[in-house]
Subunit: 267 residues, 3 copies
């Protein structure tokens, strides 16, 4: 059975989801289309990349992923649509900066720019329908992706805020807020532990001091803030049973400092 996933900013009250499913089921034999999300904020490449990176990379071998967030293009400002092979899966998307975030630090990836001859319409407003479905069907029937175009050696780069790491502090940034109001920081547990070594740290936010990593939300009292590690590996600020983003005033883009406990520094 051919698995095809959809990650888009189309919303769910239009015909777009259904039209693409119709095309996939009618061109790919023995197919199963899986909704990842259609509720990515419209045109939000960062959020789309976060969802794909944390939801899609570990599907079974040969899964095809269709990703459509801001893939419109013009004759003047040509976006290159691409198939990216990673981890034995295929990601059909647009080289608009989003793939550079999705696959940051991952290898090996192979990127093929799709030649325009596969486009099924002279309008370029719905590439998932007019191009991506056809490419998905071709891959499903074992077309070698190299036949679909030419190899791209460098993805269009979208700058992502990375944490600034000093010996005694890290300046990081909120880069995702989930539906519970949990706040994801742009630093992984690996980077954090390497920096911290065996020293004590402190995060000060809105007159709260957080000095340890909790292993569950209920490790602190109801309405108390905590730091934990999300299943995706990032540091995550939360409030037990409440909305950390709202109560602590932390939104996507808000900077936040993590420091080595001054008493440690004086050692």
């Amino acid at each position: 059975m051919q698995l095809v996933t959809l990650t888009t900013d189309w919303g769910r009250s239009d015909h777009y989801v259904g039209a693409v499913k119709a095309k996939l089921y009618s061109t790919i034999n023995d197919c199963q289309v899986i909704d990842i999300s259609h509720d990515i904020k419209k045109f939000d490449l960062m959020e789309g990349a976060f969802i794909v990176r944390n939801a899609c990379l570990n599907f079974p071998k040969n899964t095809i992923h269709i990703i459509d967030v801001d893939c419109s293009e013009s004759k003047k400002k040509k976006h290159q649509h691409a198939v990216i092979k990673y981890n034995d899966q295929f990601f059909i998307c647009t080289d608009n900066g989003m793939p550079s975030i999705i696959f940051e630090g991952l290898s090996p990836i192979k990127v093929i720019g799709i030649t325009e001859s596969y486009q099924e319409s002279s309008y370029y407003t719905f590439s998932a329908f007019d191009l991506f479905c056809k490419v998905a069907a071709l891959i499903s029937y074992e077309t070698n992706i190299e036949e679909l175009g030419y190899e791209i050696t460098e993805l269009v780069k979208k700058n992502v805020l990375t944490p600034i790491i000093y010996p005694d502090s890290i300046l990081c940034t909120v880069f995702h807020v989930d539906g519970y109001g949990n706040v994801f920081l742009n630093i992984t547990i690996g980077e954090f532990m390497k920096w911290k070594e065996n020293k004590k740290f402190v995060i000060e936010v809105e007159s709260n001091k957080i000095v340890s990593i909790s292993h569950s939300y209920d490790d602190v009292k109801v309405n108390d803030p905590l730091l934990t590690i999300s299943s995706s590996g990032y540091l995550e600020l939360a409030i037990n049973r409440s909305n950390a983003s709202e109560l602590l005033g932390l939104k996507v883009g808000t900077p936040l400092a993590i420091t080595i406990d001054p008493k440690e520094s004086q050692k």
Copy 2:
């Protein structure tokens, strides 16, 4: 594998979607239920018809479509539930005016009014659960649809605003606004080109003049309005990177004139 799609106005926070899926999976062997949309505006036959027409007609042969938008009925005001066969697919729905819009201009269609004996409850508040699922299972097991009732030769007609076409102008109407704020007009590219021939046209809206058809949103500058052709074949007004419906004050039902450029008329 039997494909069954669902297009409804149930929303997604209730048990309705799950209850119908349970019944379908437990009565149809080797079944796959596909969500088209559960977010049709409640009781909005026009919007429901638009979604079905543009999302459902091209699924594979033998696909069964369950459509539930305002299919409640009473002993006094009896709605006829129906199975409609079109394009080798089966549409289980209610002859409440919506099918007349979905299948407008399409043929051949065969319409069978379902006899009440298939209803599994003495309550008529959830026909998809109490009737449509059973009919889907029967069709899946190759029941000839003519055994399910009697043939209907004329669908209940719901009046739809059609564009009024004069030699030098068209008076059309907004009939759908998508989640991006793109505005769909009730005229197809075919009708439009036949009217326009090789003359120049102009659409004036909120002090903007649109005089050409764009092939992509990015053909105009960010925040500029444009006219394009939607993948469903209708004329579509949009604003590059913004919400045409809000910024141009165009809602479902708003009339809009397309005129032949006066300079052309004077030729």
Copy 3:
């Protein structure tokens, strides 16, 4: 084919749904994951239980149901995760009070508390990902659920308001409001008929008197209130074509009296 359903409070704009689907598809061969709802109100055990009870109990034999509403836990306040076997199906959930509502009055059920050794992470913030998926895969490969832990003989009990039944009146409570504003009362048609016998009843709400059970919404005039029986068997107050919850001021928790018609009482 292994069916797995998901009922959660995760919402649809995060990576959680996709991450769990990735894990299920990559560990269970020939699998189909079915969305029941991801829009349960966050932490709302009552609403989650209502959805599961009315949507999930009648799937085919061997279906696995993953239920995640408020299943976080701590070292101090340990929630027991459990597999519940009922009606030849498997429900992977948390013994946090919700299962006691879901399975109220149903038997036989077998409850196995899952031993912690199956947890795949030292963080306890996303049990569906770190534990439930693995348990689903084990059940799918025919692991006897008794090998997963130890039998629990009594579920954690969450108190649910039950109707108070007097000879001449019932004091019941609104316990669910659906997306149409239909109001579900916590009394079943069976309990109601047993109490009422062949006497007349009356419900007074906002100067309306309802004295009969309607079999469809359209049995009364548009904008008139009515009482019907939901497909799930509960008494349901509705307004034909409108929102009973808003117009009659009935929310979850609102008490409501049903009385025997006084004229009957005087007989």
